[in-house]
């Protein structure tokens, strides 16, 4: 029963992790760690509650742990070994027009909210619960993330005159 429920969520966890990390191997590692932790804490899951929110919450916490941990800079061996820059690209906008790469330029916390909204279509309240943050924080991260992504995609300088949101 639970196996089916978890199996059904794996593709979604992978999609989200891929979008969040931008790297296939790293994303699948994160999914694997998430599932292992989920099984080891299965007794904490309350039957009838939202399995997906629970799993995404576990993934979020693992990610936070990862980011806190000092780590060695690593490189995927199998992919993107060829992207040696041949000219300065910071302001050139061409590379950044690529959405995936633009997404990688968002702060982690904004990217998370943006992706949970866009890909998972979670409600703001569910996102607040999953990430364990106030709903106002969800809204401000969403607003800033969307605007930042827009300006990167349009090659504009960052605009700072956003309205303050409670």
């Amino acid at each position: 029963m639970e196996s089916h429920a978890i199996l059904a969520e794996i593709p979604r966890l992978r999609r989200y992790a891929r979008a969040l990390l931008g790297d296939r191997a790293a994303a699948d590692d994160l999914v694997q760690d998430t599932l292992e932790r989920a099984w080891s804490r299965f007794h904490q899951w309350q039957a009838g509650s939202d399995m997906r929110a629970w799993l995404f919450g576990i993934m979020h916490n693992l990610r936070v742990d990862q980011l806190r941990r000092p780590r060695l800079p690593t490189h995927s061996i199998d992919e993107d070994d060829s992207d040696v820059p041949t000219r300065a690209t910071q302001n050139d906008g061409l590379e950044l027009r690529d959405l995936a790469s633009a997404l990688g330029h968002l702060p982690d916390e904004q990217r998370e909210v943006l992706l949970l909204v866009a890909l998972e279509e979670m409600s703001y309240a569910d996102i607040a619960a999953t990430l364990d943050i106030p709903i106002g924080t969800v809204m401000s991260r969403l607003s800033r993330g969307r605007e930042r992504l827009r300006s990167i995609m349009e090659g504009q300088p960052q605009t700072a005159n956003l309205k303050v949101v409670r």
């Binding site: 089916h4 699948d28 099984w39 890909l119 969307r146 827009r150 309205k163």
Partner: protein, 268 residues
């Protein structure tokens, strides 16, 4: 409509279809009067759709095995299978480090409480049977990774150890006595690398053969017996080679195995 009432949160919720019908109408009126804001909202809608087009194909990718097995509670076998990539990633170094610490502490412990005076023991190297017994005690109980290279790859094992020891070494065949090779590993000796071959019988009893090439004195010896705690050791020196056979079995049974080992080794 009072445009001041439209907040940034309303605009975001409009993009996400999270408004009530009434509120959505108010937002649309506001956007009709504010072309810049309308353009911004359109950009967000486009952005959201683009993200979905970009990442939705991941949903249809076949699951790698290490993930699909995790759809069920990890059983013993499933855990084994999915642990492999983990091992490759990082645990191996940790295991190796902890084994090395265990080995070094074991050796240090033996040296310190030893019959040798402490000052002298630091300068001395520890004797062959003791090193062999410690290596046996450290590695033979290891369920998951008792050897570095398993007997399935015996050719590679022989080639590798021979290369590292700088001289041909080959594990004797002890199948006639009920012991099958399970693999081997390289270990630090007193001044350089030594080899350890591990065998196991049908009951799971393990036996290790420690092969050192560090014997500079070239004094051949007959079989000698030593006991280090629960581990019995037969050892002998043959040219530059030192051999030590360790196991937690009877002296008489171990002697039989030691004889078989001795018989199979090329004597110079």
């Amino acid at each position: 409509m009072n445009q001041l009432q439209i907040t940034e949160a309303d605009l975001q919720a409009y993009v996400d279809g999270a408004l009530t019908d009434a509120r959505r109408g108010e937002v649309e009126d506001y956007l009709a009067a504010q072309p810049d804001e309308a353009e911004r909202v359109r950009a967000y809608l486009t952005q959201k759709q683009a993200l979905r087009s970009l990442f939705n194909p991941v949903l249809d990718e076949p699951l790698p095995e290490n993930l699909s097995v995790l759809a069920s509670p990890p059983s013993a076998t499933a855990v084994d299978r999915l642990r492999k990539p983990l091992l490759a990633r990082w645990s191996l170094q940790r295991i190796a480090a902890s084994l090395l610490i265990a080995l070094v502490s074991g050796l240090a412990g033996w040296l310190v409480h030893d019959r040798y005076p402490p000052a002298e023991s630091l300068a001395r190297t520890s004797p062959l049977p003791r090193r062999a017994a410690v290596a046996h005690a450290v590695f033979s109980p290891d369920v998951r990774r008792p050897v570095e290279v398993s007997a399935e790859h015996e050719d590679q094992l022989v080639a590798w150890l021979s290369k590292r020891l700088g001289t041909p070494v080959r594990p004797p065949k002890l199948g006639a006595l009920g012991y099958e090779l399970i693999g081997g590993r390289l270990l630090p000796g007193n001044v350089g690398p030594v080899a350890q071959f591990m065998y196991q019988d049908a009951s799971g009893q393990r036996l290790t053969l420690y092969v050192s090439t560090e014997n500079a004195a070239n004094q051949d010896t007959a079989f000698r017996f030593a006991q280090e705690g629960p581990v019995n050791v037969f050892y002998w020196i043959d040219g530059k080679f030192g051999y030590a056979l360790s196991a937690g079995i009877d002296k008489s049974k171990l002697a039989l195995v030691a004889t078989a080992v001795y018989d199979q080794i090329d004597h110079k």
